[in-house]
Symmetry: C2
Subunit: 290 residues, 2 copies
């Protein structure tokens, strides 16, 4: 095309696509570039702003490595990661939410009723619920990969003072679909804000905080895997999670249980908790595979 203009350049771009191109690639890239061009026209993007954008991408590339994923963080704080999650959630199941960068593979087995709190001093948190299908039937043999922050706000992978699998466990539920474990309250924390994405947050007058949450990956044969998080209703950042992870059905409540009421059996800590404790009940609903 020897007469490319601001009006026809999107069509020219599309016309460059070869005949053998994968149809889905054409659809995805075509839509992406159509929106990119529409954005530039809409705001009348200047050369200086374009330069700032290129400098941002180069800085995000430069700070990235195997441990630091600045482009993932960018997608998270722009809401793209959560949007992709939501587009593929099913209304009949528990909502999915962001995996985040702190999941590690190979969590040790955690028996139903097992304990993650170990030697930490914080009040005991008892979490339990049923893993079930959309009709309410329990799913025997479902597995739950569970992880959370320690009381200092750090995941084990961020904290040299914690064991590798501190606050990580893999639980397999029995015939009744029931999961249960003890732990401590996870705490709110900030996403990494010392890089280019942090600069964006500051320029936008945004904070880097996430509300506290428990992570789950629930899997069972014949069901779609569920990656999700649950959040306490009293968290100060519940309405402003900087990565947009909160869904209405993922909000849970800590019940304050009185001293002397800890279950006498069924838990690793049974017989060892005299004081009051917190209890969460949260069921997880998995959706059958198509």
């Amino acid at each position: 095309m020897r007469d490319v203009t601001a009006d026809n350049i999107t069509d020219v771009f599309m016309s460059y696509m070869g005949e053998g191109i994968d149809p889905r690639l054409k659809e995805v890239l075509g839509s992406l570039v159509t929106h990119l061009h529409a954005f530039a026209r809409e705001v009348n993007l200047t050369h200086e702003e374009w330069n700032q954008g290129i400098a941002f991408l180069e800085a995000a590339g430069a700070i990235s490595d195997k441990e630091r994923h600045e482009f993932v963080l960018l997608s998270d704080v722009l809401g793209l990661s959560s949007l992709v999650d939501m587009l593929h959630s099913r209304p009949e199941g528990t909502s999915s939410s962001v995996l985040g960068p702190f999941h590690i593979s190979g969590s040790p087995p955690l028996a139903v009723g097992g304990d993650l709190r170990k030697d930490f001093d914080e009040p005991v948190l008892l979490v339990e619920g049923i893993v079930k299908d959309p009709d309410g039937n329990p799913i025997p043999g479902a597995t739950l990969d569970i992880w959370q922050t320690a009381p200092n706000g750090l995941y084990s992978s961020q904290d040299p003072d914690q064991d590798t699998y501190s606050f990580h466990g893999l639980q397999t539920v029995g015939a009744d679909g029931r999961y249960a474990f003890t732990s401590v309250r996870p705490v709110e924390y900030t996403v990494p804000s010392d890089g280019p994405v942090g600069d964006i947050l500051r320029a936008c007058g945004r904070h880097p905080w996430r509300p506290s949450h428990l992570h789950f990956i629930a899997e069972a044969e014949g069901f779609r895997p569920l990656v999700t998080e649950v959040f306490p209703e009293d968290d100060p950042y519940l309405d402003q999670d900087t990565v947009f992870g909160v869904r209405k059905d993922l909000v849970m409540r800590y019940e304050e249980m009185p001293a002397g009421s800890f279950p006498a059996e069924g838990f690793e800590l049974s017989g060892k908790v005299d004081e009051g404790y917190l209890r969460v009940r949260f069921d997880l609903t998995l959706v059958p595979r198509d």
Copy 2:
């Protein structure tokens, strides 16, 4: 917002912007994210595709350094760079076109009529024209920064066999606004295609070629600087420049001039060219500053 959904997440994103935010940043980032979300919804972007996108950005970051600007190249082949150029071109002046990565500062002075061909054997190319305002008046004292490929398709900065300023010159026009120099035909070449952007071109069935061109940066006091390129009408890639740089008014023609007709004076090569040569006449129109 504790009930983020695929439908409201763009509004939630906008609601996170602080009160003190720069209004232009809010406009630009708001539009960018609105389009990003619309894109994801439109194509129902999958987690796998999202992963591919993140991997692409990380690979583009990893290959980038002070010399290699993969994100600029990405912007070029997606048409964004040219679109920004066109959005800020004025219809009353010569169109702007991409600067490209091969401009270098500090080009040596090139007198009107001076020569860039030096010891190269290719046929002489004579380029001349007037630097003028939109009313056709010459602009005395305008400067032209001129650069192009050598006959091997390489710019001096890419080619250890060329001097630093080979095929680079800075010309200041006189009272008549006329510029003139001799050189050789620039040749078509490919953008770097050994990185992630090259992978995109291949997946799209696109080639990495640019049509041959002469680069100019024209500047004069009281006028907007003009960054542009001119392309010969017979170039095989004129209708498919992989970076979308061709504009209708930037197409020029090589006139084949007969042996013995080279100007007898006014050129560094006057008296030294007996054979036929090529001639290009191309005027450059600058637009007054606002």
